[in-house]
Amino acid sequence: MEHKDYISDKGIDYIPQGDELDVALTCYNLKFPLMLRGPTGVGKTTLVTYLSRYLQKPLIEESCNEDTLAADLIGRNLPSGWLDGSATKSLRYEDGAIYYLDELGEARQDAIVVVHSLTDDRRTLEVRAHDEVLESPDEWMLIASYNPLYQLQNRVKPSTAQRFVTVDIPFPRSDIEGEIVESFLYGGKVEKEVKQKKFKKRDNIPINDIVKLANDYRKVAKSSDSFGLREGPGTRLVARTAKLIEYGLPDLLAIEVGMINPLTYDPEQKEQMFDIAKKLFR
């Protein structure tokens, strides 16, 4: 199996549709794993390749499918010696890399569990075959993507979903879509320059409010029998959301990507959860 691992200078520039680029860069800086969710062809992969170029980090991509094995991610022993898997390989770049798990929902659970340790604060990967623990460099980033619409059967388990800061990428607005199509047709670069927003670190983080909000979500999860919100946010989500707010992301955006999105992808439910967040945040 071959892995792409170069910094491509080809491909079109990514035009952000919302705050997804800001969130992605925030995650990169805060060392949080990122999940991109959206229908096919809205630019999830484009965003990742663009990030790789923007950050000047190699991109290692693993397209998951039913037959993806844990060994594909970690590596295997061959007669010629040890062959790194995609995850191991990405971790060996000392200056960091972007590790992209495409269509995470397609992969089998046992393969996904391998990267669980990479998604929490440890950010390590244990390679049992030769007793090695790989630690990820500070500039290493994990991005996953999946399409919730056609993966109703094989959806990403809550235990996995709750490990990622999650961004929904919708179909682009028609003006943006026009630009994209134009640049694709005529091969020209998009003129609009994408700028990274500067965030100001916040001092007074409303920890109490965030915890209160999490408890409200847990209450709703407990009471709603037909809504499908299975469980409330775990403490990891709460802590990460606080960290995102501290970094300077707007409160509601941080709550959306840190708490609401990992719990649900139903647009109606997201709106309802926003209503609850608006009890405390503006």
């Binding site: 209450k219 709703v220 009471s223 709603s224 109606e268 709106e271 309802q272 209503d275 609850i276």
Partner: protein, 798 residues
């Protein structure tokens, strides 16, 4: 106009974040459909008006959010009153909590005060707890403010002189300040209203007292009880105030009816006014004032200060000066015949007894939402103490339409919570309704006894007697009810026979099938060395080729990734005798047991459910074995299972689908075991106006088919085992004994034939429709365990 309809799901979710209970948002002006009423049974009811005048959608939504938050936060901020009696010591009368709450609907002063204080308390709690929401709510409520409401307190008396109800004015302004209207704006309007000739001098004081009462220092540590206490403090304050001013008490007038009764009383007094000796009255009043002065001076010496400052030093000094003034006035009036003091006494009191402005203000904001409901949120009993099972709602196909949440399903774990039998339910329901009837009766008697105007009723001892009688009767019924519940807990179990020999045989059978489920997989990157393949690779490598090193082979278990749910029909019909001394249910139990054993030996995931029920809000599902549990658990629970009531197949199938859907497996089966005759009638709602929904015939079959189709759309394979009823061919009487008119035998024969035909086609076609080819008809229930096992093995190895 912004309608609430579009926000309903959002509001429900929003309310649940306060309560943690399921919530149902209702619109009082709209009659709920039957289905909706059913759902509401076990949820917290919150009311909102149908629409609101608002300048845009955002404001409208804020307003609705505010209403929902004020109601649903009751649970969070200790705002759900319990039955208690509160004493207002000064007016020497105990008041039921309901007096504080319910009478408010009819404009009583103290209940309105309580409502204003309690709403204000919750508002402050929300403000402290959810800052942003508090701002949004105030923003939504401000819109409703209308200066004319404050001016409602202004009236003209018979002499056409302006008269202002200062108490009402204070209450109304406190209310609107609490809802976020700018205090300065309110003050401006208040200043423009002429002062009352009697209480006008006290306007600032009444406003200040009420202002202090509605303000809580640390609202999150308070409860509804504080609001009651404060309302009763205000009652005391009003009592003192009116006494000092020489007016009649205004507190005992609680309702419009009493108000008019009092007017009558005062008319009577008017009629006899000339008989009163004016001189005597003067002496009496002055004496009264002197004694009150003495009382107050004593209080001043004690220097007792109450928290809210009603009996504070300055207050007492003020009251003393008022008394002095009145004494002087009376002395000046001595001998004059122009003024009838007694008449004034009543007249003035009435003017303050009703609080129209505050009442209207509440109505403006809450519209047709009952005010009682605002302050007395009723938490459904079942939510507080969940006795039996887990409840949730499932859809059902009715008249070709899929009605969401139409059936209420209760899931029981038979070892933990046995559902009561139908007889028990009927009996207990009867007792419960009797108790509530008696409770109402007692409350009615109590009201009469505690009423201020109880002199209207001459037969007080009689009332007391009948109340005590009712009380005794209620205790007796309560005892009966407790006993019935206890009996239910000691329900008998029925043993189940299991055959150890058969168990071993099944184990062997399954073991025999298992090895064939292993296969060799070549071209692997790891595993055992495949020498031939390695040699090829080695040669290729030597030749300078670059082949992949996939020269291993693996013995892999042929992935048997099967999950199945067995669904047993445990309705009354299953109790039919099938063998010498065994019912169909016994065979069903046996087959369930051996089925799960077999699945266990094959290392498949399996769960067993049984279902019955009566009515669409009492559809029962018994979780006999969950996926993770051992078959031995199943045995314990099977012993407790009884065949009773009816069967509503659709909801059971939908539940099984949900259960299966959450299990990760490649192949999923839903085995359905029963007579495939869904039928259910309604018995719970016998009240008029309720249309009961029968679940029979084509409608029921269509629902079952829909349920199976939706299961199939999730990738689940339904498998049916149908137990054919032996008595299906029983001849039926189609004509009465004495036929009237001419009988055409040919036509009759044709009709009979058609009927028989449709019956047969019905079952066969429906089975085919539901299960495609995966069904089997069993005529003799004794074969059941074996048939089920065979079917399982056959289908799962396909």
């Amino acid at each position: 106009m912004v309608s609430v309809k579009q926000f309903l799901p959002r509001l429900q979710f929003f309310a649940e974040s306060f309560t943690g209970y399921p919530v149902k948002i209702l619109i009082p002006s709209e009659k709920e459909s039957e289905e909706e009423l059913v759902q509401v049974q076990d949820s917290l009811k919150i009311y909102v008006p149908r629409e609101v005048h608002a300048k845009d959608e955002g404001t409208g939504f804020n307003y609705f959010k505010g209403l929902v938050a004020l109601q649903s936060s009751a649970a969070l901020y200790n705002g759900i009153p319990k039955e208690e009696v509160f004493n207002i010591s000064k007016i020497k009368r105990s008041r039921n909590l309901d007096d504080f709450i319910i009478e408010g609907e009819r404009g009583g002063l103290i209940p309105l005060t309580y409502q204003t204080i309690e709403l204000s308390r919750r508002m402050q709690c929300i403000n402290e707890d959810y800052r942003v929401l508090g701002e949004d709510m105030r923003y939504g409520f401000q819109n409703m403010f209308d200066p004319r409401l404050l001016k409602k307190s202004k009236k003209a008396d018979s002499m056409n002189e302006p008269v202002t109800n200062e108490i009402d004015l204070a209450l109304t302004s406190a209310y609107w300040k609490n809802l976020g209207v700018n205090p300065r704006e309110i003050q401006k309007i208040v200043d423009g209203i002429p002062r009352d000739k009697q209480l006008g001098i006290l306007r600032e004081e009444v406003q200040e007292v009420l202002g202090r009462l509605v303000k809580f220092n640390s609202p999150l540590n308070t409860s509804y009880r504080d609001s009651v206490e404060r309302a009763s403090d205000f009652a005391q304050y009003l009592y003192d105030l009116t006494e000092d001013m020489g007016m009649g008490s205004i507190l005992h007038i609680k309702t419009i009816e009493e108000y008019s009764a009092h007017s009558l009383e005062s008319q009577k007094i008017k009629g006899i006014e000339y008989k009163i000796d004016q001189e005597d009255l003067h002496d009496k009043l002055i004496k009264n004032i002197d004694s009150r002065k003495k009382e107050l001076t004593a209080m001043l010496d004690e220097n007792s200060e109450s928290e809210i400052g009603l009996n504070s030093k300055e207050n007492i000094i003020r009251r003393l000066s008022i008394l002095d003034e009145r004494r002087k006035n009376l002395q000046d009036l001595r001998g004059s015949r122009t003024l009838n003091i007694e008449q004034h006494r009543y007249f003035d009191a009435e003017r303050y007894a009703m609080s129209e402005g505050a009442s209207l203000s509440l109505r403006t904001v809450f519209q047709d939402v009952s005010r009682t409901h605002l302050v007395k949120l009723e938490v459904p009993e079942r939510l507080e103490e969940q006795e039996y099972g887990n409840i949730f709602h499932l859809p059902e196909l009715r008249d070709g339409m899929l009605v969401p949440n139409a059936v209420r399903v209760i899931i029981y774990d038979l070892r933990k919570d046995l559902p009561p039998t139908e007889q028990q339910i009927r009996f207990q329901l009867g007792l419960e309704s009797e108790i509530s009837k008696l409770e109402r009766e007692i409350a009615e008697h109590n009201n009469k006894i505690h009423s201020d105007i109880n002199y209207i009723y001459d037969n007080l001892p009689q009332i007391v007697k009948s109340r005590d009688q009712a009380q005794r009767k209620m205790d007796k019924v309560q005892k009966q009810l407790d006993k019935s519940r206890k009996i239910h807990e000691e329900m008998a179990r029925r043993d189940m026979e299991t055959d150890a020999g058969l168990t071993r045989r099944i184990e062997k059978e399954m073991e025999a099938i298992k090895p064939s489920a292993r296969s060799i997989v070549r071209n692997c990157f790891e595993g055992e060395l495949d020498e031939k393949k390695f040699f090829e690779w080695w040669l290729d490598e030597k030749m300078g080729g670059n082949q992949l090193p996939n020269f291993y082979y693996q013995w892999q278990k042929r992935k048997r990734d099967v999950a199945s749910v067995l669904l047993i029909d445990a309705s009354q019909s299953a109790e039919r005798l099938a063998g010498d001394d065994k019912s169909i249910l016994d065979f069903l139990k046996q087959s369930a047991y051996y089925f799960s054993l077999g699945a266990d030996f094959l290392e498949d995931k399996s769960a067993v459910l049984a279902y019955n029920g009566k009515g669409y809000r009492n559809s029962r599902i018994f979780l006999l074995k969950d996926f993770s549990e051992d078959p031995r658990r199943l045995e314990e629970r099977l012993e407790l299972l009884k065949g009773e009531l009816n069967n509503r197949d659709g909801s059971a199938i939908r539940y099984a689908t949900q259960l299966l859907n959450d299990i990760p497996a490649k192949t999923r089966f839903l085995f359905h075991l029963g007579d495939m005759q869904p039928s259910d009638i309604e018995y719970e709602h016998r009240s008029p106006g309720f249309e009961t929904y029968r679940y029979e015939g084509e409608g029921a079959f269509a629902d079952v088919t829909h349920a199976f189709n939706s299961a199939r759309s999730y990738g689940i394979i339904p498998v049916g085992i149908c137990i054919k009823k032996p008595d299906e061919q029983k001849p039926k009487k189609t004509i009465s004994e004495k036929p009237k008119g001419k009988l055409n035998l040919k036509v009759l024969k044709k009709l009979k034939q058609e009927k028989a035909k449709t019956n047969n086609i019905m079952t066969d076609e429906i089975l085919k429709q539901n299960f495609q080819n995966n069904y089997k008809i069993v005529e003799n229930p004794i074969e059941l365990p074996k048939v089920l096992r065979d079917v399982y093995v056959r289908t799962s190895f396909q």
